[in-house]
């Protein structure tokens, strides 16, 4: 018994040594892949020339390193050691703040003004946005800029000490907001609003370990966005209703995305976050203006709760003004492949959404392209103008019909004028459009 144990121990070692190779060749254990932009080296093809030059060996070593069995576990172990023992966040661009608040570095840079593009460029952009806003307004369309909250502005108190800087006016966020006000560009400053309600909000608005607003914060923002459009266009739209409030420390959706990207071995502890059950109410009788959203990743969470379908009449989501969704889920479709003017003018509302960290490249050439296209396309606008007016008339008629009292009044007027009810509805709708203008 005593003599046999040493061989057993040696055999155990050999078996453990073989497991990664076996797993690589023939995966026996299901291992969750690593999160993030992981590009593993491919197996190189053998050529005598590349063998003698050493190129094959170098590539094969890289391939083995990236694809050895259980590699995700190894990487997570390394990341956990660096994080727990040495305070290092191994994911590129991730900063570990005080109390383990995690930031993506661009959000800290944005808050500090390290990415400031200059007042001249910002004013130029704002003027272009204003031009588009006015152009769309002529067609009874609404342009709205929504500045989503940034983690840097929301949690500056948790910055690492070596990244704290005095507050500055030379930040993209501040300059954009000031100029939006100055040039009367329609905008919602969610960044400021979130900071204002941060201490009074019942649930966490910005997650400790996430890049984006919390699920709950996003829902509040959605409600606010709908309200703004309603007031701006004087219409009644579907509303977001919380049917059940649920709190849990098991973070969902994007509330843990930075920590997830760090690929740690152990889940980081979190305060409970709120994940209400929701539904959109009034979807049958209210107006759902067709709305195009050109946005960074902050709109994804709104898109995923169905706002595009239930509120915005499938207006479309242009991610960073590049990929078009939902079409790109089935087959990639980019903005370059479509008729820009036609697609934009099909919508009644156009929303441009960005967080402060993405303001340096805002609006990802959307404004420049559409403005240029519109400038060359004035003739087409008259045709589109008529089409839009017809659409508006139909929507107003739908509103009248949904209001019993109002509809009865129209019926009375029709009887008095001896014309059909439908004709009276059209006349009333046209009158209302003129009143708005």
């Amino acid at each position: 018994m005593h003599i046999k144990n040493k061989p057993l121990l040696y055999l155990l070692f050999l078996i453990l040594l073989c497991l990664p190779l076996i797993q690589m060749i023939c995966p026996i254990v299901k291992v969750k892949p690593l999160k993030g932009a992981v590009i593993n080296a491919e197996k190189p093809s053998f050529k005598l020339k590349s063998w003698f030059s050493g190129d094959y060996q170098e590539k094969y070593e890289k391939y083995t390193n990236d694809n050895i069995g259980f590699r995700p576990w190894f990487v997570k172990l390394y990341n956990q050691i660096q994080f727990s023992m040495f305070n290092e966040a191994t994911a590129r661009g991730v900063i570990r703040g005080k109390d383990d608040y995690l930031y993506e570095i661009n959000y800290i840079k944005a808050y500090n003004g390290d990415d400031f593009i200059g007042s001249v460029e910002i004013i130029e952009n704002v003027k272009n946005i204003k031009w588009l806003q006015d152009k769309l307004s002529e067609l009874n369309k609404t342009l709205l800029v929504c500045v989503a909250p940034g983690k840097g502005s929301f949690y500056p108190e948790y910055f690492p000490d070596n990244m704290k800087k005095p507050l500055s006016d030379s930040t993209n966020y501040k300059q954009y907001i000031d100029n939006f006000k100055k040039y009367q560009v329609n905008h919602i400053d969610m960044n400021k609003w979130f900071s204002e309600i941060k201490d009074t909000s019942r649930y966490i608005l910005y997650p400790k370990y996430g890049i984006h607003w919390s699920y709950y914060g996003m829902l509040l923002a959605t409600d606010s966005l709908i309200n703004y459009i309603e007031v701006n266009r004087n219409i009644l739209m579907p509303h977001l209703e919380f049917t059940k409030m649920r709190s849990t420390s098991k973070l969902k959706y994007t509330d843990y995305d930075i920590a997830e990207g760090m690929n740690l071995l152990f889940q980081m502890k979190s305060e409970p976050m709120c994940y209400p059950e929701i539904k959109f109410t009034g979807t049958e009788h209210s107006i759902k203006p067709k709305t195009l959203v050109v946005s960074d990743s902050f709109y994804w969470s709104m898109f995923n709760i169905g706002i595009g379908k239930d509120v915005f009449s499938y207006g479309g989501f242009w991610f960073y003004n590049k990929q078009i969704y939902p079409e790109s889920f089935n087959s990639p479709l980019s903005v370059d492949e479509i008729d820009l003017v036609q697609k934009v003018l099909e919508n009644e509302v156009v929303i441009l959404m960005s967080t402060e960290a993405n303001l340096p490249k805002f609006s990802w050439e959307f404004i420049e392209n559409i403005n240029h296209a519109l400038s060359n396309n004035d003739n087409n606008l008259n045709v589109i103008n008529t089409q839009n007016q017809e659409l508006q008339i139909r929507q107003i008629i739908k509103s009248i019909k949904s209001n019993k009292e109002w509809y009865n009044t129209v019926k009375q007027k029709a009887k008095t004028k001896d014309i059909s009810v439908d004709s009276m509805l059209v006349l009333d709708a046209i009158w209302m459009i003129k009143q708005e203008k």
Partner: protein
């Protein structure tokens, strides 16, 4: 292929060990030779054929040397000429041509046209091993090997092929032919622990410190303040120690698993009280080789005049320095140590014998540190700038490199390097490097070894920074 790579740890090593254990005793050496040739070819595909041809030639020359008494000396010279010639050509030709051209340019002559020669990996190590084979046979210390395959195995044995230890022929001659008595499971398990200790030294300490050292040397040295320069060279002293001793431990551990008992190469060199002692603890196999195959043939301690003795020492250390690399910095490093060795003999040991052990260790460490400046610098001018900055004491501000990871690893390195100067440190070492263990102890150490193996593997696969210093040699 390096030991501290995923390819070696989880592909080459398990396949090799299984193949090795599955074949019968008669074929073990062939399996070992095949894997060793593949191991070398992986990193030096262009040189394997040259290596095999030169080794085969040397084998037959030495065999003939052993048989033919009349031509013994001529064949010895031929064998040495081949070995030194190959080393001289591949490793030093570029250096000599470059310096010759410098002289020509200085005298306004046209430079010689020369295409730089590539350096085969491990050439310094296997050449010296080959020389020990020739000389040990010549001196009748051991009979030559009967089979060519056994000779090739002795030189190409992958555990110690590319970075030592330099294994002298008579040390392993019998084991090459029959090592069954060494292939006990106790030895195999101890070999595993040693391998993992070496791997941990390399990956968890040397590589981590190396990142910080490289950052300093990649930036303009003249702009670094004195504090940073001191911290960097201290970090380098531990980087090179743990890197090289780590590799030696891995080589010795692997050898132990397959029945070879390679000699120790490092014995806590930084607790040395003088340079003489340092060279009995640092790269021991090189020191022994230089003593037996260069210093003693030059006359050793038995020369009549002191000047001749000191000259021999300087020659040995200049060659030691030059062996490390074909650069003036290595020659100066060797000379630096040679000078202090002479000073030790002249008066230094006697002078400092009165002061305590710890101050002498500190002073010797300082001497070694200065030497490392030459060793690490890319050029003489860089080493001069570094030393000027080091001793300027202009500002001792090293906050820019004082990160938690660096501080922690540096402290660990200091503890492991100097603990043997104290009785508690010696006791700890005895426990960890013990050869005899009960089964329960083996179970405990195996769990520890597997844990550290996986930690090291996680570092290797995740960090992507894994250079090895001694490959240049």
């Amino acid at each position: 292929m390096v030991f501290s790579s995923i390819l070696f740890l989880f592909c080459f090593l398990p396949v090799f060990l299984i193949s090795y254990h599955l074949v019968n005793k008669k074929h073990k050496n062939i399996v070992l030779l095949i894997f060793s040739i593949f191991f070398y070819s992986w990193g030096g595909a262009n040189f394997i054929f040259l290596l095999l041809i030169s080794l085969t030639t040397n084998f037959f020359i030495v065999r003939e040397m052993d048989r033919n008494v009349e031509k013994r000396k001529i064949l010895l010279i031929a064998s040495l000429a081949i070995n030194v010639g190959i080393l001289g050509y591949f490793k030093y030709a570029n250096f000599f041509i470059e310096n010759f051209n410098l002289v020509l340019n200085y005298l306004n002559f046209t430079s010689l046209e020369w295409t730089k020669v590539a350096l085969p990996i491990g050439i310094s190590f296997f050449t010296f091993q080959s020389i020990t084979y020739t000389i040990d046979v010549y001196r009748n210390i051991h009979k030559p090997l009967v089979k060519l395959s056994d000779y090739l195995l002795y030189i190409l044995l992958f555990p110690q092929l590319i970075a030592g230890p330099i294994v002298r022929f008579n040390t392993v001659a019998d084991d090459i032919v029959d090592r069954e008595k060494n292939e006990t499971f106790n030895n195999k398990l101890n070999g595993i622990y040693l391998f993992v200790i070496g791997l941990s030294k390399k990956v968890l300490i040397a590589n981590v410190l190396g990142e910080y050292v490289d950052n300093t040397f990649l930036s303009p040295i003249s702009e670094a303040n004195s504090g940073v320069l001191w911290l960097t060279i201290i970090a380098y002293s531990f980087q090179i120690y743990f890197d090289f001793s780590g590799y030696s431990d891995m080589a010795i551990g692997l050898g132990r698993i397959i029945g070879f008992k390679f000699p120790e190469n490092f014995n806590n060199p930084y607790i040395s009280k003088n340079i003489t002692e340092f060279w009995r603890r640092w790269h021991i196999t090189l020191g022994d080789w230089m003593k037996d195959y260069l210093y003693i043939p030059l006359g050793g301690n038995r020369v009549k005049s002191s000047i001749r003795l000191y000259l021999n020492l300087i020659i040995v250390f200049l060659i030691s320095g030059f062996w490390h690399g074909a650069e003036w910095t290595f020659i100066i490093w060797g000379a630096w140590h040679g000078i202090f060795l002479i000073l030790d003999r002249l008066f230094l040991i006697k002078l400092l014998s009165g002061i305590g052990k710890l101050p002498r260790i500190a002073m010797n460490y300082l001497v070694v540190l200065v030497g490392w400046v030459f060793f690490r610098s890319e050029s003489l001018s860089q080493s001069v700038i570094y030393l000027k900055g080091l001793f300027s004491f202009d500002a001792m501000n090293f906050s820019e490199i004082l990160e938690p990871k660096f501080i922690f690893i540096l402290i660990v390195a200091v503890i492991f390097s100097f603990s043997a100067a104290f009785s508690w440190g010696q006791k700890l070492q005895e426990i960890f490097y013990s050869e005899k263990r009960a089964v329960k102890a083996h179970a405990f150490y195996l769990v520890l070894a597997i844990t550290f193996l996986f930690i090291c593997s996680s570092y290797i696969t995740a960090s992507g920074f894994n250079p090895f210093i001694y490959f240049r040699f």
